[in-house]
């Protein structure tokens, strides 16, 4: 939402989490400490607004692990800008997220 100053605290946290490498839905939930019912609508909104994009993890790596492929999110350029504004607006969230464990490395594309 470039130019739109409606970014909320939870939305900022989600954005930050994704930028820090927490790409999968449940990882974002773990990292931010927000509820799943809060996080997922935020992800949808952010993707809708073009601040995030989503991809599916490669089928091969999923099959190796014998589970269905997961969807992951990445921050876009516009998203990075919005994040910059958000950090100015909510300076504390960086610390909130710092306490969580580091993001797992995504599988090679």
């Amino acid at each position: 939402m470039p130019g739109d100053s409606r970014i909320t605290h939870p939305t900022a946290m989600v954005l930050l989490a994704v930028s820090r490498g927490h790409r999968y839905g449940f990882d974002i939930i773990d990292a931010t400490g927000l509820r799943s019912g809060t996080v997922y609508p935020i992800l949808r909104r952010l993707e809708d607004a073009g601040l995030l994009r989503s991809r599916w993890e490669p089928v091969r790596s999923a099959r190796e692990a014998q589970r269905p492929p997961r969807r992951y999110y990445q921050i876009t350029g516009a998203g990075a800008e919005a994040l910059h504004e958000a950090l100015a607006r909510y300076p504390g969230i960086a610390k909130l997220l710092a306490s969580s464990r580091p993001a797992p490395r995504p599988a090679p594309a």
């Binding site: 997922y40 949808r44 809708d48 999923a62 014998q66």
Partner: protein, 894 residues
């Protein structure tokens, strides 16, 4: 990202996956598969991280389930954002339009459904208030009721002696609090306005604490106040406070006079406080019971306890049983054979009402089902007419599920509207029920529409919508998606399936109606038998009232006896009075007092092992006034008691003579009362009178002894006046007579014996009346259903019948054809219904009296009645068929 079978399988089993899949329909179709894939993948991954199938940690499962809950807001968000065609709103608009277009049709359905839902909700509100809602005390699940159990006399729940209660309280370890009370003591309140006889709850000091009830103003009792000699205090009930003291909080600290003694008012209870099993106007601590607290023999207290946290009722039972055994050993004379019965307070209050209420609920639910079947039939004929319209929609791309959803939306809309109306009906219905219901129905005042009932109504509405809407909807759609836009859509296949469905519905309607009718028939027989039961006295033209003498004003027994003697004499002189009698406990009205008698030759037994008999004290004129027949010997006369040199006399009833004094002539025998001092002379039996129904009309009479009231000089007597005609005017005259003798006395509990008898069967009347009403409604609904099906069936077969007529069939042939088929279906349904009834009425056995649940006469009559009704319902359409004009029939497009 089509997942392969293995990974898909892994996803399927993760906790929460099922929930997410159930939500999938909410997500707009274009995004559904991806959405599902995302959630399932996350759940599967998380599940495998905690060990998957091999993990047994319930915490992990719960955490995952909790996380899966977020799928709901997610799905709803997507629906709102991308559910472009706003299907629900469209469906509703469409449904509203088609319903409004056929007002008669819609009105009939809504009216029928509203009535059925209203009736069901009304009954449910009673069930909810009486059986389901937690009791209005603090932490009610830890409250228990404790009774003494008499293993020798085989009485499971007996009131408790004060001595036993105190011993239990002191020695048991399972209770946080153990309290006792006597629910209906009487005393006269004087001072200020007219003297008033009040019901008093006499309680131990800790009773209110045990229930967790606090006073609205002031306080409840202190521990020291339950000791004899403590300052006399009362706590007022809310109603009395409003009525007699104007709701003035200045009443605290003032003194009121009960039976001539002053009591200080220390508190007032809140409006909704009620002591279980008591209608007390106010409360006072134990000492008012005076001598009845002494000794171990008199049993009078109700005991309620609060279990310690973590203690189960089982453990408490064992604990108290141990104490009871110790008491048996220490006091064998009084405590032999006395054990303990304990049950949760909820069970105590609701237990007896459960069976009849559930039967009522089942009955009204059956009416609802019949109503739904009727409506389903109506919907079926309706959707037949919309065939073309549905076909067009199907052609435009609406899938099967979509069409069914649209049709179901209509049903749900109807049901919700009907539910709303039904709720309003239920409100009045519940109030009506509360007014008609027997007074002993626990928690009568709690009956009303609350959140639970609202939720029930909503759920019921939706359920009925599915019940009556689903089958017709599926049927309609199946036809449509089979053959699109055929011109002559009235192929045989169409009507075949529909006819089968209709027949099934009608069969179920008739069967249900049969079940209800059998139930009603049994209850009616039962009630008639019960009402016809000879109570043992002649109730016509007899009025009864209670007169109580305050002990403080009449301390000497001689004065009390003199009072009642004079009262009897004056009442006898009133115009139209033919007889006057008096008794301590009126049959079928007051609960009996019991005592034990020592039979000749069995003096060695402990008191507690002697047979128990009912004890009543009567005046000389009692038996004559009541119309109780004398069987042998004579009744008590004035001479017996005037002459103190003669031994005291007693009269016994037939049951006692038969059961306890078998083979001996009772007249002239001498008996002792157990527990009496050895110096008191034994009683001589002078006569045997007929049995009187005692506690209820249903129970067999118990052994009974009657002593002269001069033996004990009671403070309260029920006085009976027999008149030559309507006795009601005598009440005013009696009040005046009493007031003339002593203006500080109150006459209360006035009633007629006819009323007493009527009230004795209130519960049975209530249940019978309701179920009979339901059964009648059921017959009407079923008859309407049968008529509808037959009429439609005839319409469908117009061409066929026309052909038959054209080929020479007579009127009676057609009649036989149509009626025959109708009756065949009805006969099948009746047979089915009778079989189900045979099984179902077992649940009612405890409600019946003198009639077995398998009473052949009832079953046969009901079966015949319904066949007759079916015959009548089939007749009109059959006649119409037989008188059709063959030519136009053949040509009809139907």
């Amino acid at each position: 990202m089509a997942a392969d079978p293995v990974s898909r399988d892994r996803a399927t089993h993760a906790p929460g996956a099922g929930f997410v899949r159930a939500l999938a329909p909410i997500v707009p179709a274009s995004r559904r598969e991806e959405w599902l894939g995302e959630w399932e993948a996350e759940l599967a991954y998380a599940w495998s991280r905690v060990g998957g199938e091999r993990s047994t940690s319930p915490a992990a499962r719960a955490a995952l389930l909790l996380r899966a809950l977020g799928a709901l807001p997610d799905a709803i968000w997507l629906r709102r954002r991308y559910g472009g065609d706003l299907m629900l709103r469209q469906d509703l608009r469409y449904a509203a339009r088609s319903l409004v277009r056929r007002p008669a049709f819609t009105t009939v359905i809504v009216a029928t459904l509203a009535l059925c839902i209203g009736a069901t909700t009304a009954i449910f509100s009673v069930v909810h208030a009486v059986l389901l809602r937690p009791l209005p005390y603090e932490a009610p699940d830890r409250l228990v009721m404790v009774w003494s159990r008499d293993s020798i006399g085989q009485a499971d729940r007996n009131v408790v002696s004060a001595a036993n209660y105190f011993a239990w309280r002191q020695e048991s370890t399972s209770f946080e609090q153990l309290a006792a009370y006597f629910p209906n003591w009487n005393a006269t309140l004087t001072g200020g306005e007219a003297a008033e006889r009040l019901e008093i709850g006499v309680t131990s000091a800790n009773l209110f604490v045990t229930l967790g009830a606090r006073a609205e103003i002031g306080r409840t009792f202190l521990t020291g106040e339950e000791v004899p000699g403590a300052p006399r205090v009362v706590v007022l009930g809310h109603a009395l406070w409003q009525r007699r003291f104007g709701g003035d909080s200045g009443v605290l600290g003032t003194t009121i006079v009960l039976d001539g003694e002053p009591y200080t008012v220390v508190g007032v209870m809140p409006r909704d406080f009620k002591l279980p099993g008591s209608k007390a106007d106010l409360f006072t601590p134990l000492p008012i019971l005076g001598r009845m607290l002494e000794g171990r023999i008199p049993h009078l207290l109700m005991v309620v306890g609060r279990l310690r946290p973590g203690v189960t009722i089982e453990r408490a039972r064992v604990d108290l049983a141990t104490v009871a055994r110790r008491l048996e050993r220490e006091y064998p004379q009084s405590n032999t054979g006395w054990g303990v019965t304990m049950l949760s307070l909820h069970e105590q209050v609701a237990g007896e009402a459960r069976r009849p209420l559930l039967v009522l609920l089942a009955a009204v639910a059956t009416v609802l089902l019949i109503g739904c079947a009727n409506i389903a039939n109506l919907m079926l004929s309706r959707t037949a007419g919309r065939h073309r319209e549905l076909a067009v929609r199907a052609a435009l791309g609406a899938g099967r599920r979509r069409l069914i959803t649209q049709l179901l939306t209509e049903s749900v809309a109807i049901a919700v509207v009907a539910g709303g109306i039904g709720l309003a009906l239920a409100y009045w219905g519940a109030r009506g029920l509360a007014a008609l219901a027997p007074e002993e129905l626990p928690r009568l005042n709690d009956i009303g529409i609350d959140a639970g009932v609202l939720a029930f109504t909503l759920g019921l509405s939706v359920l009925t919508a599915v019940l009556f809407g689903l089958a017709p909807a599926i049927h309609a759609v199946r036809r449509v998606t089979g053959d699109v836009l055929k011109e002559s859509s009235r192929a045989a296949t169409a009507s075949g399936g529909r006819r089968r469905l209709r027949n099934m519905l009608v069969v179920s309607e008739i069967a249900f109606a049969v079940v209800l009718l059998v139930g009603a028939g049994l209850l009616i027989s039962s009630f008639v038998r019960l009402r016809g039961q000879d109570p043992g006295f002649r109730p016509e033209h007899v009025v009864a009232m209670k007169v109580g003498l305050p002990r403080a004003a009449y301390p000497e027994p001689a004065r009390r006896i003199a009072f009642f003697d004079e009262l009897t004499r004056r009442l006898r002189a009133l115009p139209t009075v033919t007889a006057v009698g008096a008794i301590t406990r009126l049959p079928l009205y007051d609960s009996p007092l019991t005592t034990r008698v020592v039979l000749p030759g069995r003096q060695a037994l402990a008191d507690a092992e002697q047979p128990e008999v009912g004890l009543r004290n009567v005046s000389e004129g009692y038996f004559h006034a009541m119309g109780i027949p004398l069987i042998a010997g004579r009744t008590i006369t004035e001479r017996d008691v005037a002459d103190t040199a003669l031994p005291p006399v007693m009269v016994i009833n037939q049951t006692m003579a038969r059961r306890l004094l078998v083979g001996r002539d009772p007249v002239g025998m001498q008996l002792r009362i157990a527990g009496a001092a050895p110096t008191t002379p034994p009683f001589t039996i002078v006569g045997v009178v007929g049995d009187v129904r005692d506690g209820s009309l249903r129970e067999e009479p118990n052994p009974q002894i009657y002593l002269s009231y001069r033996q004990t000089a009671p403070t309260t007597l029920s006085v009976i006046l027999r008149s030559t005609s309507d006795p009601a005017p005598l009440v005013a005259a009696a009040r005046r007579t009493v007031a003339a003798m002593d203006p500080n006395l109150a006459v209360h509990s006035t009633t007629t014996l006819t009323q007493v008898l009527a009230e004795a069967v209130t519960e049975e009347r209530f249940v019978t009346l309701l179920i009979t009403s339901f059964a009648l409604v059921a017959i009407v609904l079923a008859a309407v259903g049968v008529y509808g099906v037959m009429a439609y069936g005839v319409t469908e077969r117009t061409r066929e019948i026309g052909i038959r007529l054209a080929f020479g069939a007579q009127t009676r042939d057609v009649l036989r054809l149509v009626l025959g088929e109708g009756l065949a279906v009805a006969a099948l349904a009746v047979a089915l219904g009778l079989m189900v009834a045979w099984g179902a009425t077992r649940a009612m056995t405890s409600l019946l009296y003198g009639v077995s649940a398998a009473d052949v006469t009832t079953y046969a009559s009901v079966g015949l009645l319904l066949l007759l009704v079916a015959l009548l319902a089939c007749y009109l359409p059959a006649r119409r068929a037989a008188h059709m004009d063959p030519a136009s029939a053949i040509r009809s497009e139907e």
